[in-house]
Subunit: 268 residues, 2 copies
C-alpha cells in the first residue's frame, strides 16, 4: 500500500533527469503593440512578455521567464523581437512555433523557434538591430495604416530629412536624444549608428535606423527631430549643434510610439 502510493507520487513528479535536460529556446516574435503596455510585464496592462509566458505555461505547464532583447514601449510594434526561455519539456524546438501560436492572441505570433546555448543573452549578444519608423505625410489621416504610422499633416521636406539623417551615422554622443532617466542614471550615451536613411513612396515616409544598441526612446526622439527638420524648424546642419549640446532640450519633439517597429536583430 505504501509502495503503490509512492509510485503514484513519483509519476506525478518531474523525472530525475529533468534539470539535466533543460533547454533554452530562442524565439523570433512579431506583434502589433497597439493593445499592449509594451514588451515588459507591467501592473497597468497586458504586456507581450506576459502573454508569451502564459502561452508557454499552457503548453508546457512550466512557469518560464521570457527574456526579450528589447523593451519596446507601450504601442510600439515588432516584426523581429528576439526572446528566450528555458524549458524541461521534450517538445522539439521547431514545434514551439506552431504550438505557441495556437495559444497566443492574434496580435502576437512566434515566427521562429530554435534551441540555443543555455547562457544565451538576447539583449547583450545582439550584434545589430534595425528599427523602422513610419510617417503618413498627407493632409488626410490614414485608415489602413492608422495603427502603424504617425500622421503628419504639414508637407515635409524629405531631402532635408535625408540630409539630416545621414549626419547621425557614426559613433556619437546621443545624450541630446536620450530621455532624462538615461542621463541621470549615468547610462553611457555614446553609441554607434550604422545606417540612418529615409525611404518614401507617396504619402508614406519610413525611417530605417541600424545599430548595435539603442538608448531608451532614442529612435522616437531622433524621428521627431528629423520631422522638425522637414518642417523647417531646424536646418540639416543643425544636427551637429544638437548632438554637441548633449542636452535633450536642444533637440526636437518626440515622435509617438505607434509609428515605431523593431524590424530585426542579428546575432553573430
Amino acid at each position: 500500500m505504501r509502495f503503490m502510493h509512492l509510485d503514484i507520487l513519483i509519476a506525478g513528479l518531474p523525472r530525475e533527469n529533468y534539470h539535466e535536460r533543460m533547454r533554452t529556446i530562442r524565439l523570433v516574435v512579431e506583434y502589433d503593440g497597439t493593445d499592449y503596455c509594451g514588451w515588459q510585464i507591467q501592473s497597468n496592462g497586458p504586456s507581450v512578455q506576459a502573454v508569451l509566458e502564459e502561452a508557454i505555461r499552457r503548453l508546457t505547464g512550466e512557469n518560464a521567464r521570457v527574456r526579450g532583447a528589447s523593451r519596446t514601449d507601450s504601442g510600439v510594434h515588432a516584426r523581429g523581437q528576439v526572446a528566450c526561455f528555458s524549458t524541461g519539456s521534450e517538445i522539439p524546438a521547431e514545434r514551439f512555433c506552431q504550438a505557441l501560436n495556437s495559444r497566443l492572441p492574434g496580435d502576437v505570433a512566434v515566427r521562429e523557434a530554435v534551441e540555443v546555448c543555455s547562457d544565451f543573452d538576447p539583449r547583450r549578444e545582439a550584434r545589430r538591430k534595425q528599427y523602422s519608423y513610419t510617417i503618413w505625410n498627407h493632409p488626410a489621416r490614414p485608415a489602413l495604416a492608422r495603427r502603424f504610422a504617425w500622421h503628419v499633416k504639414l508637407p515635409l521636406d524629405v531631402s532635408a530629412m535625408e540630409d539630416a539623417a545621414e549626419r547621425l551615422v557614426g559613433t556619437r554622443d546621443f545624450a541630446s536624444f536620450a530621455n532624462a532617466e538615461c542621463r541621470t542614471s549615468g547610462v553611457e550615451t555614446v553609441r554607434t549608428i550604422d545606417r540612418s536613411v529615409w525611404v518614401h513612396e507617396g504619402a508614406r515616409l519610413q525611417y530605417l535606423v541600424e545599430g548595435r544598441s539603442f538608448l531608451y526612446n532614442r529612435v522616437r526622439n531622433i524621428v521627431g527631430t528629423l520631422v522638425d527638420v522637414g518642417s523647417g524648424r531646424f536646418a540639416p546642419a543643425d544636427m551637429e549643434s544638437i548632438l554637441a549640446a548633449r542636452d535633450r532640450t536642444a533637440a526636437g519633439q518626440g515622435a509617438p510610439p505607434h509609428g515605431l517597429c523593431l524590424e530585426w536583430i542579428r546575432y553573430g
Copy 2:
C-alpha cells in the same frame, strides 16, 4: 406683427435657391473593413456607407444618401473606394475631407473630396478598377498583417500561380468564377481583365487585378483557384478548361474576404 412673424419663418426655412445650389461631392474613401458588414447598409451590423451618411448628417444636418462605386463585402478593405452624395450646404468641396474625417471612426477616412456633375454615377462611369489580394505564405501565422492577409501555410509554387494568372487576361466568360446569384439572375458573365499579376516579397504574395467591372466575389474565387494552382491541385493550363466549363464547381476554393482590398478606381 404678421410681417415680422413671416420674416422669422422664412429665416428658418431653406433659402429659395437651395435646390438650385445642390452640389454633388465625389469622395475617395479608405477603410479597414475588419469591423464592418461591408460597404452597403445592412440590418446585421455597421456598414461603411452608414458611418459616412452619419458623418455627413452631423456635418451638414442633411440626410444624404451616399452611393458607392463598389459594394465591398464584409471584411473587405478599400484604399480607394469612390462614393458621392448631394448637398445643399455651402462648405467648399475641398473642406469636406478634413470635416468628415473629424466625424468618422478611425478605421474610415476620406482621402479626397471634389465637386462633380450632378448626374455622376460612381459605379457605371468607372473606367478601370484595381483590386489587390494579399496572402501570407509561411508556416507561422502573421501578427502585423493579420487583418489584411490570408494565411496559407503550405508552400506555394509562385511561378505556376503567375503563369495561371496571365491566362486570365482578356475578354472571357468568367461564369466559373461567379457566385450562384450572378448565374441565376442572368448577369452578364463576359468581362475583361486588363491586368492579372502576382508580386511577391518574402512571405507576402500579392495578386493585382485590373478591369472595368467585376462580378460579385469574382476576385476571391480567382485567388482561391490560383492558390489551388500554387498547391498543385490544378496545373496553370487548367485555367482554360475551368473558364470553358462556365461552372463554379469547375474552379477552386473561394479566398476569405480579409485579404481583399479595392485599391483604386479611374474615371475618364
